[in-house]
Amino acid sequence: MTSKHLKFIQHSGKVVPFDRANVDTDQIIPKQFLKSIKRTGFGENLFDAWRFLDEGYIGKTDRQENPKFVLNYPQYHDASILLARRNFGCGSSREHAVWALLQYGFRCVIAPSFADIFYNNSLNNGLLPVTLSETQVDTLFRLTYENKTLTIEIDLETQQITGEKLDTIGFTIDPNRRLRLLEGLDEIALTLKHASEIQEFEKQHRQRMHWLFSSR
């Protein structure tokens, strides 16, 4: 299965409270797993250095889980919504981080802010990044802790988060990006519909900055 061009319309799932700011992509998927030339197989090494007590490498089995790491708490084993703090996904541009989150089972990350490259990578793979205010994120953390587990529904069509224990929260996302996620369209095909415009642009560009085309 490829994780590309996944649609996102609505998703209902359990929230895991991931109470850290500035989570970088080196933590989400450590470098030793980037040697793979595939798009799959990253889920089992998501947050590898935090999830496990032993040092991981590709293909290692018989791992020692870190019981103190929140993803390993029994009540969060089947969580599919990651609730985090500000600047989530900073650092390296590795898209493997998004693949790892999806392949582990996450469909959505909620945070007060995201790093730009991670945000784009998420949208390109159908992992929904939801930006909420600090206060709204605080509320979700509090509800998750108070109730032991919290199940919410994220609806991209209505741009609302709902749940039994919760007042409905609205969220915003670029309308064009939203549309593309709802329809699960192939980004490249969308651009190639404009191939003649790109060619026309290229022709003018070649005149304006000809050295870019005739030098190597």
Binding site: K4, R20, A21, N22, D24, D26, Q27, P30, K31, Q32, L34, K35, S36, I37, R39, A49, E55, R85, N87, C90, G91, S92, S93, R94, E95, H96, V98, S113, A115, D116, I117, N120, N121, N125, D174, P175, N176, L179, R180, L185, E187, I188, L190, T191, L192, H194, A195, E197, I198, F201, E202, H205, M209, H210, W211, L212, F213, S214, S215, R216
Partner: protein, 469 residues
């Protein structure tokens, strides 16, 4: 309307709006390497697509290759998974006739060292690479974005990047750089001041006389770490220093083309009175050498300061700091200069150019690295940097001092090969990220300038390079 350098480059490359409303930016140069490109080429193959303009692509191998025993080339890579990754790049470049500096090529090196060195990075260009440190190329007045693998595939197939317009941020380094303090210290000071998300959504333009006075290599060091402040790109104005650097490089235009290019390039600088969404001033008159103490690049102090106390921070920061101190094995109040080291790493796309190696050699010449160190590495940024250093005898100087002199690659900046820290080893590193595990599982990184790393190698602990001036 008065425009910024960013506004002008954006306008020059704006192709149009797609049916779905998203905007397309034309890409002049696409740099690729072995780690973030295989899945993109595979995607092309599955969809029966071809690269749009293969002449725009330049490839090299850097991330996962070893930095020693390179005489056997690809076959000499012990790690079979890394070997497959390199072979895959070899195959993809051959199949699509992409210009490629492979492991045997003297021009091979870290992609962000190679592009500028070849003149493949030119002012006014749009540049992408599946690597966040693509921001490096902004030192040339080029708009350079780090992108993910889906975007690599998209640019391969369409020559365009889907991009929403960035905001403008102006950073002025005000004052004169004191002796012993370098571009690396300037950028660490900025990130310390504005934080790792301080420039999210923005392209930073670095301004001020102190920036104009820097060499092109120093400028690259600053632009390189723009991403560590969360910026989408870093940019610097186009001037004579840059022209002198570029003229005569293999990919640079020549003759009439050069003259035409220079005319256009010089017209791209920000207009007087251009407006920015955010403006920051960093005072550098009294700047001391900077050193990171924690696990992200905003956790920085001056070399003569002590490890900060979380008790003096806001609640959120305190918690993160507490965790960082624990990971780093540090106690608040300890002098940074008292921290004993295990390894020294001089290299990476931030600091592996010839001037970096010269500044290291100047300090370690006639001295020895401290006996408490497990290892000290100098990893040149490219084969050509290595050659140049050897022509100047710098390799002999650093080897005589006890450093290992390696072959070019990313090496211990991200430890994808076998250059790494072992658990709890402490390292002074000229790289760009001090994230947990970045340089090796449970390794402890202190980000510093090349000069500080050199002085620290001599003392076996974090050192103040100003004592060596």
């Amino acid at each position: 309307m008065n425009q910024t350098l960013f506004d002008k480059i954006w306008q020059l490359h704006f192709v149009g709006q797609r049916d779905d409303g998203l905007e397309l930016m034309y890409i002049d140069r696409h740099l690729i390497h072995e780690v973030t490109s295989p899945q993109a080429f595979e995607g092309l193959r599955l969809a029966n697509r071809m690269p749009w303009r293969k002449q725009s692509i330049l490839a090299t191998v850097d991330h996962s290759i070893p930095t020693r025993n390179r005489h056997n080339g690809v076959e000499g890579i012990d790690d079979s998974i890394a070997r497959e990754q390199v072979i895959t790049l070899d195959k993809n470049c051959r199949e699509h006739e992409i210009e490629y500096f492979d492991m045997h090529d003297e021009r091979q090196g870290i992609v962000h060292v190679v592009g500028p060195e070849q003149g493949a990075t030119l002012p006014g260009m749009t540049i992408v690479c599946g690597d966040s440190h693509t921001s490096t190329h902004g030192a040339f007045g080029a708009l350079a974005h780090g992108i993910g693998t889906s975007e690599v595939e998209h640019v391969l197939a369409t020559q365009c990047l889907v991009q929403s317009r960035s905001k403008n941020m102006r950073v002025e380094f005000r004052g004169t750089l004191p002796r012993g303090v370098s571009a690396k210290d300037m950028i660490l000071a900025l990130i310390r001041q504005i934080g790792t998300a301080g420039a999210t959504g923005h392209v930073i333009e670095y301004c001020g006389e102190s920036v104009a006075n820097l060499s092109v290599e120093g400028r690259m060091t600053i632009c390189n770490m723009s991403i560590e402040a969360g910026a989408r790109a870093g940019l610097m104005g186009i001037d004579n220093t840059l022209m002198n650097y570029l003229e005569g490089r293999p990919f640079s235009p020549v003759g009439k083309q050069w003259n035409d290019a220079v005319d256009v390039w010089l017209s791209l600088n920000s207009d007087v009175g251009a407006t920015y969404d955010k403006e920051i001033v960093v005072e550098i008159n009294d700047l001391a050498p900077q050193v990171s103490w924690g696990t992200n690049p905003e956790m920085v102090v001056s070399i003569d300061e002590t490890v900060p106390d979380p008790a003096s921070m806001s609640y959120e920061k305190a918690e993160t700091a507490q965790r960082a101190l624990q990971y780093m094995g540090l106690e608040p109040g300890v002098a940074m200069k008292d921290l004993e080291l295990d390894k020294i790493f001089i290299g990476s796309c931030t600091n592996a150019r010839i001037e970096d190696i010269r500044s290291v050699a100047a300090i370690v010449e006639g001295r020895r690295v401290a006996s408490n160190l497990q290892a000290a590495y100098v990893v040149p940024g490219s084969g050509l940097v290595k050659q140049q250093a050897e022509a100047e005898g710098l390799d002999e100087i650093v080897k005589a001092a006890g450093f290992e002199w390696r072959d070019p690659g990313c090496s211990m900046c991200l430890a994808m090969n076998d250059d790494r820290l072992y658990p709890e080893e402490r390292c002074a590193s000229t790289s760009n990220r001090n994230f947990e595990g970045r340089q090796g599982h449970l390794g402890r990184t202190h980000l510093v300038s090349p000069a500080t790393a050199a002085a620290s190698a001599i003392q076996g602990r974090l050192a103040d390079v100003r004592e060596y001036l």
